[in-house]
């Protein structure tokens, strides 16, 4: 029996954030490196930053009371071992 806690989702989210920030910096660096900064690029960059910050704040606000230790799902490994045996119970691998 393996219990996957809810904070596993945070790990996935952290990986996404790493990709997000990497691409954001690459985009910003492209503008900065080519010396093409102007009013439009400033406005769009600020818009994206403000919207991203609002999204982070919203995410934190809606999840601030979450108990991250509670189980996300339980993986019942004993059912895997019975998978190829006749009469084995193969209906409940995941218990949400």
């Amino acid at each position: 029996m393996i219990t996957v806690p809810l904070y596993a989702l945070l790990i996935v989210y952290a990986i996404f954030l790493f990709v997000f920030f990497t691409f954001f910096i690459i985009n910003f660096w492209h503008i900065f490196l080519t010396g093409t900064t102007n009013f439009n690029s400033f406005v769009v960059t600020m818009l994206v930053i403000i919207l991203s910050v609002l999204t982070f704040y919203g995410t934190w606000y809606f999840l601030r009371g979450t108990d991250w230790q509670q189980p996300l799902f339980t993986l019942n490994l004993s059912n895997f071992s019975n998978l190829f045996q006749p009469g084995g119970n193969n209906n409940e691998f995941l218990n949400f």
Binding site: F23, T34, G35, V44, L51, T55, L63
Partner: protein
């Protein structure tokens, strides 16, 4: 670093004009991004009508929805920003010596081509369509004697005015090259 470094600006060379596609051509991306932003409302309606709703009302379901929504919206912002950068860096540079086409085809794909002004043989501009006619943007097609036979400015503002400006600069450059009949650089 600046634009001068990227185009290896020569000492005698000065940038006369930089052109981008007309801002109106970016509007479809803005509309598409807005549609992406409101799409979760439709998904919410679908879920609220389905039997999945009780699951999403649990603490676990709610956490998945919030984190999933956060990932979705951040991806939308990144999508918009990446397209803006591609649009922003897709530009044409007119100097007193040459024309440069910096084409940003993707985040990691840039092509820079150039042609000397004196090699321009013919220039034509076209404004084709309803929106180009309303907002005064279009293409300039330049025939050259260089290795790049055709040089196109796509969807630039006031193409007629720009074509005349390029032809004037080309005539000046050609005059200089005819006078000197060598490859010494023109004085600004």
């Amino acid at each position: 670093m600046s634009l001068s470094n990227i185009i290896n600006q020569k000492s005698y060379e000065k940038i006369v004009r930089t052109c981008r596609r007309h801002p109106v051509t970016f509007v479809p991306y803005v509309i598409f991004s807005l549609l992406l932003l409101i799409a979760p409302l439709g998904l919410y309606w679908l879920v609220s009508e389905s039997s999945l709703l009780p699951y999403f009302q649990t603490r676990t379901g709610w956490t998945i929805v919030v984190l999933g929504g956060s990932i979705y919206y951040l991806s939308c912002f990144l999508f918009f920003y990446t397209h803006f950068v591609t649009f922003h860096l897709d530009l044409w540079i007119v100097t007193n010596d040459r024309l440069l086409d910096m084409e940003q085809k993707g985040l990691f794909h840039r092509t820079i081509s150039e042609v000397d002004l004196y090699q321009i043989q013919d220039a034509s501009s076209e404004v084709h369509g309803v929106f180009p006619s309303i907002f005064h943007y279009g293409n300039i097609i330049l025939q050259t004697a260089a290795t790049v036979p055709k040089f196109t400015f796509k969807n630039v503002s006031n193409p007629d005015q720009l074509r005349e400006e390029i032809l004037h600069l080309a005539a000046e450059d050609r005059k200089f090259h005819n006078q000197h009949n060598d490859n010494t650089p023109p004085t600004p």
